[in-house]
């Protein structure tokens, strides 16, 4: 899971910061800052909620290829 955030679309509602504070922050202009664009899977539910709550649809998720080093 990789997070794509579009600062040009962001309206600074802060929903992502409130939902997943370990993953999102707001910059000096109040716009989205992604702290960790490929967060640990444990964060996935809150990241998905943040994406759904974003009022300007500035957040999206891309599926990342499995890490071959983790393959069995």
């Amino acid at each position: 899971m990789r997070i794509i955030a579009d600062k040009h679309t962001c309206i600074g509602s802060g929903q992502c910061v409130l939902t997943a504070p370990d993953v999102f922050d707001s910059d000096d202009d109040g716009l989205v800052d992604v702290l960790d664009s490929e967060p640990d899977p444990a964060h996935e539910p809150s990241v998905r909620e943040a994406v759904a709550l974003c009022p300007s649809r500035a957040l999206s998720l891309a599926v990342t290829a499995p890490d071959p080093r983790r393959a069995h």
């Binding site: 939902t19 707001s26 109040g30 009022p55 300007s56």
Partner: protein
Amino acid sequence: MTTIDHGTSPLQSFPVQRCPFGPPAEYARMRDEAPVVRVRLPDGRVLWVVTRHAEAQRILTDPRISTDTTREDFTSISGGHDNETMAKLHAGMFIDMDPPEHDVYRRMLISEFSVKRIKAMRPGIEATANELIDAMLAGDRPADLVAEFGLPLPSLVICQLLGVPYEERAYFQSRTRQLVNFGSDPEAAIAATEQIRAYLDDLVTRAEGDPGDNLIGRLVTERRATGELSHDALVGMTFLLLIAGHETTANMLPLSVLTLLRNPGQLAELRDDPSLWPGAVEELLRILSITDWAAFDRMAIADIEIGGTTIRAGDGVYVLGLAANWDERAYPKPGDLDIHRRARNHVAFGFGVHQCLGQNLARAELEIALRVLFDRIPDLRAATEDFNFKIGAPIFGLYDLPVTW
């Protein structure tokens, strides 16, 4: 003016008066009928209302939906203004602008209302809440919770943030009341708008000469000086923030108190576990939906297919926030207050690029004010059973709320 086919069946007339604690029965009927439904305004014009949650979010994020009230064919419920009057009152009013024009203004303000900035304001909001409660406890019983707490708290906070002298509140509060009750008298609303703008024009002129350490002062220093912002646009932005900072939280707060008093079990839970307050505030915002359609008048600027229906370019569209927030497809048993519900995706603050700029300030004010009030006055109760609801007003609330303890 409109291309909507009037069809053969009689149309629901609109607006429909709400029940005090919930939507009118017509909302459930229309929502069951279709996600978008045609309604007729008192002057005969026909427009669409959006009744369901999913479609409300879709419409409010659709770039083919405009909120530019200066368009000649815009179907506003207050209707009937000449374009010259509208244009004069339009400068800086980015709530009535589409991107990219809208974004220029909004981006100048985002950092002022960011999660971080609001967090830093919380101790000041709590101190203000305590001072107002001190005064209320020292006064007579019953006390009016609207006049002594619900209105002064957000008013003090927004005046301090903007740099508007709180001592001058009688002037702009009385005119704000006329403005938000425009349903009854459009001419009075225009007069009130002009008077508030004249007051703020003078205030902004003073700030241009001597900018203070407040939002208006910062915009003067950072945006007026650079030529990014005109004088009239700064007046319009200030106007929007002052109105929005008053008639929203000031109505939500007393209504929330009354709603919680009617749900003593959940109030007891909140007293035992204050970490439940943020979730409770979201649920109160959802179930009360005080703005309903008031901020959600739109116009299609291209044909839009939605829910098996085609909204034609030029058609007026109102999103019914109260209907969407009571949509059982999104919220099971929507009429039951449930502070544990996952209600954060409500549309009480709207959705899309126009979603409330001050939403995190509103959340902080409500959370702090409600927690402090019920902590400080544990046996708070209503001193009447006959409540003065703002029935028919575009923004719902209580004219007064006598309380005792």
